[in-house]
Assembly symmetry: C2
Homo-oligomer: 236 residues x 2
DNA sequence: CGGCAAATTGAGGTAGATCAATGTCGGTGG
DNA sequence: CCACCGACATTGATCTACCTCAATTTGCCG
C-alpha cells in the first residue's frame, strides 16, 4: 500500500492552547501540564477542495480535527461511483478509527477550503494514559460519529426523493442563521442521498417553485427557508 | 416520559468473571480487583422475540451487552414505518449512547430469543475512573458501531435491489459455517434495505432459481451459499 | 381438517433513472 | 467590451426497476 501524496499546505505547528475551537474538540478538558507532555508535533494543515486527507485502506497514523470547512467521508464502489457516507464540519474529527484500527475505513475529501489539525495517534494514546481528562471528549466524538451515521441513514437515505431532499435542506441549515441552507452540486447531493443528479435538481426546483425555499444566489447553492413546516412534512 | 415496562425475564445477577463471552466484550481486560469494585448489580436478562430492550427517547441509565441472539436497532417514521438502522449480535453492545447522552437515540428490539447483560452506566463510569483497562474495550465497541453503521449504508442500502439482497446474504453468513446464511422475514429484510417485501422475495427466489443459493428449510430463512463469487459480483 | 401467517408469483402503475437538449454563470483571451 | 468556452443547473421525453394490488401457495399448529 503506497499512500498517495497528500496535497496539503503546512501552516505551522499548532498552538493548541490558544486554538479558537479547542473547547469544541478533543483537547477541551486538558490542563497546562497535559499540553507540556505533548512531544510529537501537531500540524496545522490546509486542504483545497477536492483533495484527500486520507484514502480508504491507507495506514492510519494520525487523526484530524476539522477547524473549518466541510469534509466528506466516502467509499468507492468497484465501478467507480462514490457513496458519500457522511459529512464533517468544524468541531468534528476525521479518522477516529486510527485509534483502534491499522487503516482508514473510508476516504476523507475536502469539499471546501478546509483547515485541520493533524494529531498523531501516539499523542492521544500518551495523553490517554497520563490523564483521564481526554476520555470524555473521545467518547463524545465517537458518540457523535455514530449518531451522525444513523441520522444519515434514517433522515436522508429513506423514503421518497422529495422527502430526502427536504430532509437534506434541513440538515444543511446554517448554525448561525437557520433561515439559510447551503447545498452542494446536484451530483454530490445525489451521492449522499442515493439519487441521480437530475432527480435532485427537479426536487429542489419544485420546492423553489412552490415557495418553500427561495434562492439566494444564481448558482443553486444557498437558499432561504420560507416554510420550514413544509420541509418537515414527513408524510410519504 | 413514562418508560414502557420492559417485558424481560430476570435470570439472576451476572457472574461476570465466569461469563463465557467475557473476552469478547467490555470487561475483557479487567482483573480481580476491578470486579470487586463493582457494587451495582449487573442483571442477566432474557427477551422474547419482538420485545424492546429500550425505546427511542427513553432515559438511558444502562447499556446492554448481547450474549446471544439478534437485536435490531430501529427508528420509527412519523407514519409508523420502521427503519432498521443496524443489527447487533453476540459480543455487540446496545445503547452505548447511555455513556454520553441522557436518552436512547433509537429503539432496540429482540429479533430472536435474546440474552443480555444489563450494566448500569454508573458501573462503567466507576471502572473507567478506577482503571484504564476498560477504555480500550469501550473504544473498540464505539469503533465497531461506527463501522457497522457505515457498512450498513454502503453495502446494503446502495445500488439495485439485486445488489442489496446479494450483499445482505453475504452479511448474514454464519461465523461458524460461512457456507450458510440465515435471513429474516421478507418484511424485515425490506426495512433494512429500503425495499418492499415483494421485491426482496423476488430477488431471493431469483438467486435460488439461478443456483447461487439453495434453501436449507422450507420457510425461506436459511440458505446454503453455492456460488459466493456470484454474490460478490458488485457490478450494477 | 381448517385457519393463520408468511412466502411466492403475477399484472399493471409509477417514481425515479436515463438520454438528450437548452439555459446560465463565470472566466479567459482577443 | 464582447466572443467563446467549460462547468453546472434545469427541463423535457422516454424507459424501466421497483412498487402496488391481488391471487395463490406453502408450512405450521390447534
Amino acid at each position: 500500500m503506497i499512500p498517495i501524496k497528500t496535497e496539503s499546505a503546512w501552516r505551522g505547528t499548532s498552538d493548541c492552547q490558544s486554538c479558537g475551537i479547542r473547547a469544541m474538540v478533543l483537547f477541551a478538558d486538558l490542563e497546562q501540564q497535559d499540553f507540556e507532555s505533548i512531544h510529537s508535533p501537531i500540524d496545522d494543515l490546509e486542504y483545497r477542495p477536492g483533495h484527500s486527507l486520507y484514502q480508504e485502506g491507507e495506514q492510519a497514523l494520525s487523526l484530524f480535527t476539522v477547524r473549518s470547512g466541510t469534509v466528506k467521508l466516502l467509499r468507492m464502489t468497484p465501478d467507480g461511483q462514490q457513496r458519500i457516507v457522511r459529512l464533517l464540519r468544524a468541531g468534528d474529527v476525521a479518522g477516529l478509527e486510527a485509534l483502534t484500527s491499522a487503516t482508514f475505513e473510508n476516504e476523507a475529501v475536502a469539499m471546501t477550503e478546509v483547515s485541520v489539525c493533524c494529531i498523531p495517534v501516539g499523542v492521544i494514546h500518551d495523553l490517554s494514559r497520563r490523564s483521564p481528562r481526554i476520555h470524555a471528549q473521545l467518547m463524545k466524538q465517537w458518540h457523535h460519529a455514530v449518531k451522525q451515521a444513523d441520522d444519515w441513514l434514517a433522515d436522508i437515505n429513506f423514503g421518497s426523493a422529495a422527502r430526502r431532499v427536504r430532509q437534506f435542506i434541513l440538515k444543511m441549515r446554517h448554525t448561525t442563521d437557520p433561515e439559510l441552507s447551503t447545498l452542494f452540486s446536484r451530483e454530490e447531493m445525489g451521492a449522499m442521498m442515493g439519487l441521480k443528479l437530475e432527480t435532485v435538481s427537479r426536487e429542489v426546483s419544485a420546492l423553489s417553485k412552490a415557495g418553500v425555499i427561495a434562492p439566494m444566489d444564481k448558482v443553486g447553492r444557498t437558499y432561504r427557508i420560507i416554510n420550514a413546516a413544509a420541509l418537515n412534512a414527513d408524510d410519504q
